[in-house]
């Protein structure tokens, strides 16, 4: 792995959890991402913002190779997790997705019981040998997701019977249950009301220390609220990447400034 430090505009002595170097993504003939270099740190929330179709979701889905399921998608460049190329042939994509979990835009619990929703990941990966261990994982995951008190008396009811915000927290609990290192969130609050959104944001704040979190959001305010680093994408380019406070109080690039102040286009 030969990553040139000069490629990145961020100078830091910390080791990044994930790195993207000269990442180019094509959907058929469409050039969706152009030479993107980005570092993701373990104890931070990184927000990806930008107008629709700017490539932020594409970038996110590259991080756990969800784009593999799209036949026409080609990824070029280097993407690493703990300095290991995630697109190399030796990497088991199933394992990668267990290490890099994902939460989707629309809450998508399985139409199974709350318990089974959380237990599904540990079950397929064989993370728990006995029933007790599984119970323990379900308990801690739901607790970390701040859902335990709300659902402890009805673990066997269907996950789809919960409210939208609870469903999304269930999805987060489900992702946590596999004990990932990175959690990707693709506009996790876009289908939720402000209160449910606030709860998710608080949850993200709490999870921050334990997982590297990457969140795609259309709401610049949300990016400002929850993240420590913000990356602004535009037309497939990474325009600016830096500390969230800097981006939102003193952006360096005119495009970033126009976008975050609502003068875009």
């Amino acid at each position: 792995m030969n990553i040139q430090a000069a490629d990145t505009n961020i100078t830091t002595d910390r080791e990044p959890k994930m790195q993207a170097r000269r990442v180019n993504v094509f959907y058929g003939d469409t050039h969706a991402l152009k030479d993107v270099n980005l570092d993701i740190y373990a104890d931070e929330v990184t927000a990806l913002i930008g107008p629709s179709g700017c490539g932020k979701s594409t970038f996110l889905r590259c991080l756990n190779r969800m784009n593999d399921t799209v036949a026409s998608c080609r990824v070029k460049g280097v993407m690493t997790l703990d300095n290991e190329d995630i697109y190399s042939k030796q990497v088991d994509v199933v394992q990668l997705r267990a290490r890099v979990g994902m939460v989707f835009q629309k809450p998508n619990p399985f139409p199974k019981s709350i318990y089974d929703n959380v237990a599904y990941g540990p079950r397929i990966h064989g993370l728990a040998r006995k029933g007790d261990e599984l119970d323990e994982i379900v308990f801690t995951s739901l607790q970390k997701a701040g859902l335990w008190d709300e659902v402890k008396d009805r673990l066997d009811t269907s996950g789809t019977a919960l409210s939208g915000g609870q469903q999304q927290r269930l999805c987060i609990a489900r992702a946590i249950a596999v004990n990932p290192e990175v959690i990707l969130m693709d506009e996790p609050c876009s289908a939720l009301d402000p209160i449910a959104t606030a709860k998710i944001e608080e949850l993200i704040d709490e999870l921050k220390g334990h997982y590297a979190i990457v969140i795609v959001t259309h709401s610049m305010q949300q990016a400002a609220r929850v993240s420590q680093k913000t990356a602004f994408f535009h037309l497939g380019n990474l325009v600016e990447y830096g500390d969230t406070v800097e981006i939102f109080t003193n952006p360096q690039e005119p495009k970033t400034k126009d976008y975050i102040t609502g003068r875009y286009g």
Partner: protein, 445 residues
């Protein structure tokens, strides 16, 4: 080009639309009129359909309901030791032969003669003997077999009447018609009237219809043989078509690469669903009978042929059901690190199962009602015995209906309708099951 004064005019504030003007009101009225016309036409169409359905089902029902009852005549049977002598004297294998070969007909004949001693001429006696069904012989044989002690005694028994008597009792043969134009003569009518007056004629529920196989005698014919044949046929169809259909659907939906070959397969599956069923029958005839030399008229061949016909239906239904599973569920499982196989068998298949089941049941119902392909592979044979397995010769319900509808006896008309009622009952039950499944397990995402 607009002149400056036009521009001047155009720049004035536009007048609000005159919604209340006569022209506007007329337009609105016209709109409501055309809507009313359309509604009336639709309503008329529905009415026509309902009337047609009611007429069809009603006529079948009215005709068929009589098929579920049968006329019996009460006779005092003297188990004459002279006639049954051999049964009393022989033993072992001879006894079995004696049971079978004994002249039971004579017992009923004697009994009838005793009832009507005035009948003397050979022709009239012959007519009299035809008063009861040939099936009475089996009935008497069973009684003697069960208890040989009845020999020498007299028993009052309800004996199955012949089909013509049954028809007359049910009023299907009118006494107002000239004697030469009806199958029942005045003499017979006299007997029927006198028996009826004695309380010796009665209509009973026709259990035999549901428990026996086909017969040349309408009063003895039943649909059990055909029902069992249909059951075995459908069993074979289900066992063959369901797994193949579902697996094909899963492969096409979840794993097949998007290319020309897949497209061609897809188009051809849709085409296959539109192929006339008789063509499948010809295919079955050519392949299963001529090439593989499977037994003729057997449910296994019928089942395989119907499986070919049902396969496209199941594949199309299963694909639709699989497609209906939202991609978000697939994403969720994939995002947790489930392999494509796990995604399919843990999530997609269980979630699409109700839809697949519904499609399968409808396909099965279609197969149950199918006649043409079965005709081609010889399931149209006259089979009296109840089939014991998928390799026995048998018919199927719709073929039985077809056979009976073709029979000349007057009494088969009501049997045909009765069999149609039974078939319809099966179809309605299966479709009902499909609807129930859909209602119960259908999810809204």
């Amino acid at each position: 080009m607009s002149k400056p004064e036009d521009l001047e005019k155009g720049s004035k504030l536009p007048q609000p639309t005159a919604w209340k003007s006569n022209e506007m009101l007329k337009r609105v009225k016209g709109r409501y009129r055309s809507e009313g016309r359309f509604k009336a036409m639709g309503f008329a169409a529905i009415c026509a359909a309902i009337i047609a359905l009611v007429l069809l089902v009603g006529s079948i029902f009215l005709t068929g309901i009589a098929g579920f009852s049968q006329t019996y005549v009460k006779l005092d049977i003297y188990f004459d030791p002279a006639v049954l002598e051999e049964i009393q004297t022989s033993s072992g294998e001879d006894l079995e032969n004696a049971f079978i070969s004994a002249n039971y007909a004579k017992l009923t004949q004697d009994s009838l003669r005793k009832l009507f001693p005035e009948v003397k001429s050979r022709r009239e006696v012959f007519r009299l003997f035809q008063f009861v069904s040939p099936g009475s012989r089996t009935q008497l044989q069973n009684i003697v077999r069960e208890d040989p002690g009845v020999i020498g005694k007299t028993q009052s028994l309800w004996i199955l009447a012949a089909d013509d008597v049954d028809m007359f009792v049910k009023g299907k043969i009118s006494r107002n018609v000239a004697q030469s134009d009806r199958k029942v003569s005045d003499l017979q009518i006299g007997w029927i009237d006198s028996l009826s007056a004695d309380g010796r004629l009665v209509k009973r529920f026709n259990w035999r219809f549901f428990s026996s196989g086909d017969s040349r005698e309408p009063e003895l014919a039943g649909i059990w043989g055909a029902t069992v044949g249909s059951f075995y046929t459908l069993l074979v169809t289900l066992i063959v078509a369901f797994p193949i259909g579902v697996l094909a659907a899963i492969y096409l939906e979840e794993f097949a690469p998007q290319n020309k070959i897949t497209d061609i397969i897809e188009v051809n599956i849709n085409n296959l669903a539109a192929v006339p069923s008789i063509v499948f029958g010809l295919l079955g005839l050519a392949i299963f009978l001529n090439v593989f030399q499977f037994p003729r008229s057997a449910p296994v061949v019928g089942g395989l042929t119907l499986a070919l016909m049902t396969l496209p239906t199941i594949i199309i239904a299963a694909r639709a059901a699989i497609k209906a599973v939202p991609p978000s569920i697939r994403d969720a499982a994939t995002g947790l690190g489930a392999s494509p196989n796990q995604v399919v068998f843990h999530h997609v298949l269980p979630l699409s199962m109700p839809g697949i089941m519904t499609g399968t049941i409808i396909g099965m119902a279609q197969a149950l009602g199918e006649t043409a392909p079965l005709l081609m592979i010889g399931m149209v044979a006259f089979v009296v015995d109840i089939p014991q397995g998928i390799f026995d010769a048998s018919t199927a319900l719709p073929v039985q209906i077809f056979l009976w509808a073709d029979s000349p006896e007057r009494a088969f008309v009501e049997k045909t309708s009765a069999a149609i009622i039974v078939l319809l009952a099966f179809l309605v039950t299966m479709n009902g099951l499909a609807i129930w499944l859909r209602q119960k397990f259908e999810r809204r995402w």
